[in-house]
Symmetry: C2
Subunit: 127 residues, 2 copies
């Protein structure tokens, strides 16, 4: 599985995902990379994201009620904060969920994993 050709649009797309403060939606990637590459097509973003996902460089992040967002695969276990004002999603370092893999909850539920999203206002939007 080769990486394919190196084009301006592909490096712009991966670059924007890399330098983002959290996972980006397709629309956000399109906007941001489009600042660098005028007339960047949305289909190109979809194609690049698909390829990057198949190559294991980025992963999809599903947020409640949102379209998929994408971030680099090297960020490890973490959670997300979504600002209700600017609608940005940010990575968080903390994991305030004390439920290790394998825990059995009352009711017989065996936990393998979890997903936490915090909601509120980011620093810029508290003003």
């Amino acid at each position: 599985m080769g990486t394919g050709r190196q084009t301006r649009q592909r490096s712009a797309i991966l670059g924007k995902i890399r330098e983002a403060e959290g996972p980006l939606s397709i629309a956000q990637i399109h906007e941001r990379a489009g600042g660098e590459i005028p007339r960047l097509g949305i289909a190109t973003v979809y194609r690049a994201v698909k390829a990057l996902r198949e190559g294991g460089e980025i992963v999809a992040v599903e947020l409640p009620g949102e379209e998929p967002h994408y971030e680099t695969a090297d960020r490890g276990h973490h959670h997300h904060f979504r600002c209700r004002v600017c609608e940005q999603t940010y990575d968080l370092g903390v994991c305030p969920v004390g439920i290790p893999r394998g825990t059995m909850l009352p009711g017989g539920y065996t936990v393998e994993d979890h997903s936490l999203t915090l909601y509120g206002r980011c620093a810029d939007c508290v003003a």
Copy 2:
């Protein structure tokens, strides 16, 4: 705002949501109520759910990567467990997230709310 007429389909739909072990998708409501009301139309489920939502009887639950699910509005703060085998979602009583409203996280994020989903296997699917 009246409740409208009482029909067999509406009471079946609300009944299924009430007796469910967790939030149901439109498709699940359709399936379950359809056992009681043959030839129940999907549009009727959408219409009933919309009316129940506007009347404050049920609320939408957004789960990562899923269509909206619906449950009765009287269940208070709780979280959900999703079985990866049977793809059912169950209500949980526990809230293992120690982040009260108003907490400020490193980075300047002010938390108002949170949403947690646990993944694993339910009792029936551990076999």
